[in-house]
């Protein structure tokens, strides 16, 4: 029996007409990282239409995507494929099915720094991420190189209205819904 629930869920979350996909494969052929994906982008779209929730939300593909938007720009039916993938990632994290969590964790740490200072404190963010991964030294040569070239600031960049910034985060996070 057909099950359109997942399709409707994705279309509602993204505002994209996923059902208009006619499998022309343009998204897949233009993707710069398709070789690292376990399911081709056009097939992800097809699986959404077919209601294959598990396969889509557990795929590596949605985490391999770089959000370079090549697929979306080229889609003949104007489906913003990158946006669909972005929404799928959120759902997969919410349901604890993410095939990998490195990029998600990095983004969270990035935002913690912004919440604290108002601007990104690069060194703090990088070290925090590295500690989290228990891999502190793998990129130390790169880090030193950037420091020597003046391309990493040691001190944080605090904005004046840090209280206001924290308020923004608090108000947004107060009613978290799917993005």
């Amino acid at each position: 029996m057909d099950n359109l629930d997942f399709l409707h869920e994705v279309e509602k979350a993204t505002g994209e007409k996923v059902s208009t996909c006619y499998q022309c494969c343009k998204c897949t052929t233009g993707c710069p990282v398709v070789a690292d994906m376990d399911i081709y982008p056009h097939r992800i779209i097809r699986y959404i239409i077919l209601g294959n929730r598990d396969r889509v939300l557990g795929s590596k593909t949605i985490w391999t995507c770089l959000q370079c938007v090549t697929c979306s720009v080229r889609c003949p039916n104007d489906i913003d494929v990158a946006r669909v993938f972005d929404a799928l990632r959120k759902t997969s994290v919410q349901e604890g099915r993410a095939a990998e969590n490195d990029t998600w964790r990095f983004d969270e740490i990035f935002l913690e720094s912004v919440q604290r200072h108002g601007r990104l404190h690069e060194i703090e963010t990088i070290l925090h991420y590295k500690l989290d991964k228990k891999d502190l030294f793998s990129d130390s040569k790169m880090g030193m190189g950037m420091l020597m070239k003046g391309r990493l600031g040691l001190l944080p960049h605090n904005i004046k209205d840090r209280k206001g910034m924290k308020e923004i985060f608090k108000k947004i996070e107060g009613k978290k819904v799917r993005g």
């Binding site: 710069p32 990029t103 990095f106 990104l120 790169m142 950037m146 923004i168």
Partner: protein, 284 residues
Amino acid sequence: MTLTYYPGCSLKTSSRFYEESFKAVFSFFGIEHKELEDWSCCGASAAHTIDERLGYALAARNLALAEREGRQLFAPCSACYNRSLITNKGIRENGELREEINKALYPLQCTGTVEVKNIIDVLHDHVGIETIAQRIAYDLSSIRVVPYYGCVLTRIMKMDAFDDKEDPTSMDSLIWSSGAELVNWPYKMECCGASKTLTNKDMTLKLSAKIMDMALSLGADAVVTPCPLCQMNLDLLPYLGRKDRNLPVLFLTEILELALFGTLKGTGSHIIPVDEIVKKVKKQ
């Protein structure tokens, strides 16, 4: 007129020499700018990935501050430009979103009415390629460059971009007006892998190296880009593990700096040395 300048985090840390460079070019052409008071991070690719509304709110905070300052907000970083443009339109056209975001921003208010400009826009609108071509003092004709736009500057969905989404040419004409030899190539828009530099270095290496290899195979002397993240990824190639030869990666305003002043303020900040390029510059 004075532009309201939104630096974003890159132009104050990892790409500080980009700021020095555009300031030198702007002051040469008499473009005045004032830094946005108490600006904050636009959320980059992180905020909307985690929560779409947080992405809007972070970018809207700066837009709200800018609305008090003037009509145009100049964002040289491609990611800041992209996020500000998307948010500006969303807030302007979607009443429900506007109300929700403004509740989070209170007492700040964002109406989405400033004009968001990138570096190419500003150079085209406020200077113009004829003026640049007339004012150059150094001969760059022996320098072959490939224009590298990167993905986020023009690939913005549901919006009329300032240039073609797949084959932009606006930066090409600015480079041409500097007198450098412009090489047409198919990698203008290839992704450098910026979102994975820390989380999947091998992927970034693969993507950035592909761009560098193409530039080398075309006999280019330099890659020219307006985007701080693209510049950084390509410039980091030696640290990402690439053993092959690399070409210098210049900011768009640096090629103009060479044409106007014959030197680069940020020579010492480049990881891939730029000395060879600077040596090729001749007095006209």
